[in-house]
């Protein structure tokens, strides 16, 4: 499974890193989310999908 963040739509709500800290973090430089784990390990798949479902900007895409 892979996730990606649309950094133009991302507004730094940071819910993704709260929900899936192994998968997402905040980029200090621009306050946008970045992906830590590519591909996403199986153990983090559910939380990664949860993060995508909860992004207020719907900026996270999930594939595979």
């Amino acid at each position: 499974m892979r996730v990606s963040v649309n950094r133009e739509h991302c507004q730094g709500h940071a819910q993704c890193l709260v929900i899936a800290p192994d998968v997402f973090d905040l980029d200090d430089a621009d306050g946008r989310a970045t992906v830590l784990a590519d591909p996403v390990p199986a153990t983090a798949a559910d939380s990664a999908r949860d993060a995508a479902d909860r992004c207020p900007e719907q900026a996270i895409s999930v594939s595979g």
Binding site: G12, D28, R54, P56
Partner: protein, 397 residues
């Protein structure tokens, strides 16, 4: 002068629907979200659908203000709420790092301690009115702590908050005048505080942070710091007060769900998120359209002020399955209770932390409570939605 211009304005287009109900406004909001191109009686366009809202807020021609009229009694643009474009981004770049989940987590012990101290005031009574006893003072205490201000100034902040968020006045003009007067007092207070602070040794609080912060290599001016603090006062107090009141009112009336989150604290965060979606304490915001634009086939004329209804998008059945049902374990919950787009709530993670810790601590001290017998919860939906009267009873241990 017509009756309409003499009366306080209708707060939200949803209030005009037959389905409007102060206690359960969700039905009216859902109806609004389902309408095609809704508007207020005066023609002000309303954006209430989830998809449309997302697209609308992203458009570069959608601005915070018209550059002349600012939010809530402010004399100058509130920073960063009333700004746009590069100027806005610069300030957000400075402020966002102060409010990330990791940063605000440091405040958890203080939130817990303040909550406990307030509960001490009524835990032995077997009853309490939670808005006045907990929900109103808690965020104000925390705010004063955060900015390093003296505790005896608490009443001043509470009064100011009321004056600008729920302005008194029979007409729009009266309300705006009262807001302006309150605003001037707050500006004066902040300017005085800042002058004092510059003469004192460094403290470890937000104001100290602002004094040394830089935007593109330049320090913030006193005026900028005052404007930021003014915004924080408006944005950070009443919103959390009202959110907390809605959440506690809901748990008071849903004992099974309350017991569930007490038994498993990991359920509380998601439950609060779902309550934020369902209650949408901040129901709407405004934007101003700088050019003629088209969003999903709908035209917005240049110069339009638009009412953007978060509360409606949050119960849009196109975006949320069974939206009128509060589902504490709801999975897909991309709500906009903290808004979306460039002006998404700066303090959202601090608010989340305050709400979760306050509720958690409240439940540790008082796990069993209900609305006091013979009484009821009163909701107000003018400004921020709140359980303005929340009388509870509980066993005293």
């Amino acid at each position: 002068m017509t009756a309409e211009s003499a009366a306080p304005p209708v707060f939200c287009a949803a209030h005009l629907l037959d389905s409007w109900d102060e206690r359960h406004p969700q039905r009216a909001f859902a109806e609004l979200a389902a309408q095609t191109a809704p508007s207020r009686p005066d023609g002000t366009p309303v954006v209430a659908g989830r998809e449309e809202l997302a697209e609308f807020l992203r458009h570069p021609a959608v601005h915070a203000t018209d550059g002349v009229h600012f939010n809530l009694g402010a004399q100058r643009p509130l920073i960063p709420l009333d700004l746009d474009g590069d100027v806005h981004r610069r300030y957000r770049k400075l402020l966002d790092p102060l409010f990330t989940p990791k940063q605000v987590a440091r405040l958890e012990p203080m939130i817990r301690a303040r909550t406990d101290a307030l509960i001490d005031g009524f835990a032995g009574h077997g009853e309490a009115e939670l808005m006045s006893a907990l929900c109103a003072p808690l965020p104000t205490h925390l705010f004063i702590d955060l900015l390093g201000l003296p505790l005896e100034d608490l009443p001043f902040f509470l009064d100011f908050k009321e004056a600008v968020v729920r302005p008194q006045g029979d007409t729009v003009e009266d309300q705006q005048q009262n807001m302006r007067v309150a605003g001037e007092r707050m500006y004066d207070y902040l300017v005085t505080t800042l002058h004092e602070r510059r003469t004192r040794p460094a403290t470890d609080d937000l104001i100290a942070g602002f004094l040394v912060a830089e935007v593109e290599g330049e320090r913030l001016t006193d005026t900028e710091i005052v404007d930021i603090c003014y915004l924080l006062v408006i944005a950070g107090l009443d919103t959390v007060t009202c959110s907390l009141s809605c959440i506690l009112a809901w748990f008071a009336e849903h004992p099974d769900e309350r017991r569930r989150v007490i038994a498993d604290p990991s359920l509380l965060g998601p439950a609060i998120e779902e309550l934020m979606r369902f209650e949408s304490p901040v129901p709407l915001g405004h934007r101003w359209v700088a050019e003629d634009i088209e969003i999903a086939g709908r035209r917005f004329a240049a110069g339009s002020t638009v009412e953007v209804v978060w509360a409606a998008a949050n119960v849009d059945e196109q975006a949320h399955a069974d939206p009128l049902t509060m589902q504490p374990a709801r999975q897909r919950n991309a709500h906009v209770a903290f808004a979306a787009g460039p002006h998404r709530c700066l303090g959202s993670n601090l608010a989340r932390l305050e709400l979760r810790v306050a509720v958690e601590q409240f439940h540790r001290r008082i796990p069993e409570y209900e609305v006091a017998a013979g009484q009821s919860v009163t909701y107000l939906n003018y400004g921020v939605r709140a359980a303005v009267h929340l009388p509870i009873a509980f066993p005293v241990t």
